[in-house]
Amino acid sequence: MALGTDRVNKVDRLAELTAQRDGDAEGASLLRETFGRLRRSPMAISGAVIVGAFLFVAVIAPFVAPYEPGAQLWGREVMPNQNVFVGPRGENWFGLDHLGRDQLSRMLVGARNSLLVGVVATLLGFTAGAMLGGVAGAAVSLGRAWGRRLDAVIMRFIDMMLAIPALLIAVSIAAILGPSLTTVMVAVGLAQVPIFARLLRGSMLAQSHSDYVLAATALGVRRPRIVRSHILPNSLGPVIVQATLTLATAIIEAAALSYLGFGNPDPATPDWGAMLADAQRFLVGAPELAMYPAVAIIITALGFTLLGEAMRESLDPKLRK
């Protein structure tokens, strides 16, 4: 633990120590403590189970789906014009959709598309948002006149985005790009950018006034280094939690966009939102066609929300015993 002799080395070593969070220090580390509390939280467990099940289904869907999801194998048996629908039966556990396709296969493969859209959209929103917010937060923390100006520019732009409802942004983007799965991912992702940006910047500002930053400053660590190895890592927690919560929103918004017709242009490729939109026309004759995707969307969103909430609570220092 010897501190070096010359001043520069000493400062560097101090900076590392102050930035260190885990390891041999007394008391449990933040991560370990968090996990410990997550394990004991029923909310976290149920959320994790739902999310796990959803991930599992999405991954194995193409191998376990009993039929090709786009094949109209029983096309002549379902007659939407006469209100004849085929409900659950031996060969089709969830019944048939309005064009005689196996509803179970469509639900399974649909999970895959919904997950893909949710994850990619969230990653996109997270990356872009964190970059904008990070730059703004860093600029303020560096604390020069140009830093504050840069921050102001970025944040006013973010405020503008915030002022427009997320779904409206998404619909506008979808209208420009034309309907496709990529459009939905980009649209939903971009709509999440302001949330991530604001959250990260806010969190960085809060950290920059904390004691350890003051300590590091007092020790003579330079500002850029403080921002890089102290403020930024410590500010990421809430943003990661937000990402979990956003996954739920993204799945719902993706469903909404598909529902509005901005999703995959090939209606034979199933996703839950589009299935819901389709089934709406047959609510009178076959309400169950709408129930399956609706319930699936609700449960999945619930799973991610529960997990996210539980993570937020266990990460919150104020709730620590």
Binding site: A71, Q72, G75, P80, N81, G261, A268, G285
Partner: protein, 557 residues
């Protein structure tokens, strides 16, 4: 005539008796303030339509929803029998043409009054024809005068770039006799005189209209066409107001109408664009009827006591094979393979409303000129697959355009039909690239040949085979992308044959030639479903979707 006078006397007497009864009843039950007065007088009849009318001056449009409204306000020289497709007199009681089909003489009814009080005479009719014939500038754009150019050709002085040949020569009036001369005979006469777009406006309204408000091809419709005040016709209803905010057009009964007066005093056309929303509005009692019900809603509506009368079929839905965009389609074997690949019977059985049928040619069987001897293409996926691989186009990727935001009378549930066809085609070895589009983009895209495959259709304007075949095949076009002089020559020959029977023979021949050439695949004819509340006495429904709203009324309790 005599009979109708007796009925009218009878009506007057009946109205008198009902009036007296009403007065005496009112006397007895004066404390009941709701009173069960005649609903037809007190309550507006509200009809739900899928899209707003565009203009109340119908010469400017080709749009069925506009005509649904203007048909109640104006009359045309000729008309169709209510609920049928035979041509009967409208403003003209009698009409005849010269043997060469160049001179059409109309004998107008006596005692016809316009809503603004003017009397109908030959001068008034000719004033309308002369106005259309003398349109200038942007008025000559097909956006505004498509039907005029299609039926009566060019204008007195064609602007630069307008190369439509002049077919209309002159209109001469002599008292109640009107003579219209045309340059060449056409299969479109006399049908054209029955088209809602050629509605007769009162001379008074014509004076107030200044034909200089449309200045470019994309101008908005002039103000006078968007509300009450200027326009007067001779129909059973007159314009009372158009609320553009709530998308409601209100019409009031015109009491001096020349025929039987409208049964309901106030008629409202209310736009509700969504099929489901229209059904819900009917179920909730907000509207009393609506058109283009989703086929899937018909059975549930009937079960709940709503009336869904069936129309006769008078339309065609087809799948077009664009041969220029996709050169592979120029191979007849490929087109035949696609025809064998599509299970049209399934579309009719599972998607289309009751009464739909598979089409064997590009016109419904009720039209003169329909042929029994056309080549038919049965559903045979194995054969289709073989033909596709014989032609060496296995795995060929083709663009297939479909509409996302609307349904048309000939194609309800467009996307379901699209999905069935595209799955059938993929089954036999083609690869489909779906291109979803909104209606506004769809029409220009299909007209300019951007889609290899697309679904479109046609509802006949009047009972004439040429109105179907001529619409598509009278010239080379980007819609189809083929050159076939045999078909084009046959079409222009048919157009110039004035005798209906001779024409029907040639139309039958044309149908056979076309179905051998197979420019596209006729899918089906189907009746668009119209629905009414249980307490309504509907009018006769029309295969041309030209319902007469003057005949609709609330049922007596």
């Amino acid at each position: 005539m005599l009979q109708s006078r007796v009925t009218r006397l009878g009506r007057t007497a009946l109205i008198g008796i009902v009036g007296a009864l009403a007065v005496s009843l009112a006397g007895c039950e004066s404390e009941r303030d709701t009173g069960d007065g005649d609903r037809n007088e007190t309550e507006p009849f509200v009809f739900g339509v899928p899209t707003d009318a565009r203009t109340l001056d119908p010469i400017f449009t080709t749009d069925g929803e506009t005509f649904r409204v203007t048909r109640q306000i104006y009359d045309t020289l000729l008309d169709h029998e209510p609920g049928g497709k035979e041509i009967v007199g409208g403003l003209a009681e009698d009409w005849e043409s010269s043997d060469d089909g160049l001179e059409w003489t109309f004998q107008l009814r006596e005692g016809v009054t316009f809503h603004d009080g003017e009397e109908l005479d030959g001068e008034a009719v000719c004033a309308n024809f002369d106005r259309w014939h003398n349109f200038e500038g942007a008025y000559q754009d097909t956006n505004f005068t498509y039907y005029w150019q299609n039926m009566f050709g060019g204008f007195a002085e064609n602007e630069e770039g307008v190369d439509t040949e002049e077919k209309f020569r002159s209109c001469t009036a002599d008292g109640l006799t009107v003579t219209i001369e045309v340059a060449e005979p056409s299969a479109s006469y006399p049908g054209a005189f029955s088209m809602a777009t050629f509605a007769i406006l009162s001379p008074g309204s014509l004076e107030q209209i200044e034909d200089d408000e449309i200045t470019s091809a994309d101008s908005a419709f002039p103000d006078y066409t968007q509300g009450e005040g200027v326009l007067a016709g001779t129909g059973p209803y007159q314009i009372s107001g158009w609320d553009h905010g709530s998308q409601e057009i209100t019409l009031e009964r015109f009491d001096d109408y020349w025929g039987d007066n409208a049964k309901v005093k106030t008629l409202i056309f209310k736009t509700i664009s969504e099929e489901t929303a229209r059904r819900q509005a009917l179920e909730a009692g907000d509207i009393h009827g609506y058109d283009l019900a989703a086929p899937g809603d018909v059975e549930p509506l009937k079960e709940n006591g709503f009336q869904v009368p069936t129309r006769d079929v008078f339309n065609i839905l087809y799948l077009a094979f664009q041969q220029e965009t996709t050169p592979e389609f120029a191979d007849l074997e490929v087109r035949q393979a696609m025809a064998h690949a599509v299970d049209r019977q399934r579309i009719v059985d599972t998607i289309l409303p009751e009464g739909g049928e598979v089409a064997s040619q590009f016109m419904p069987p009720t039209v003169d000129g329909w042929s029994e001897d056309v080549t038919t293409y049965d559903y045979d996926p194995e054969l289709a697959e073989e033909m596709i691989s014989d032609a060496g186009v296995d795995g060929l990727t083709v663009d297939f355009c479909y509409v996302t935001d609307t349904s048309r009378p000939y194609m309800p549930a467009v996307r379901d039909i699209f999905e069935i066809i595209s799955s059938d085609l993929e089954e036999v070895g083609l690869s489909i690239d779906p291109k979803p589009m909104e209606w506004d983009q769809y029409i220009p895209a299909t007209n300019s040949g951007q889609c290899s495959l697309y679904l479109l259709g046609w509802t006949g304007d009047f009972n004439e085979g040429y109105n179907f075949l001529g619409t598509w095949f009278d010239r080379p076009s980007d819609e189809w992308g083929f050159e076939n002089d045999e078909i084009f020559d046959l079409m222009s020959e048919i157009d110039r044959t004035p005798d209906p029977e001779e024409r029907a023979g040639k139309l039958a021949e044309a149908n056979e030639v076309i179905m051998d050439f197979l420019p596209g695949l006729p899918i089906s004819s189907s009746p668009p479903a119209i629905a009414f509340a249980p307490d309504v006495e509907p009018m006769d429904v029309s295969p041309l979707t030209q319902e007469v709203f003057a005949d609709v009324s609330f049922a007596e309790e």
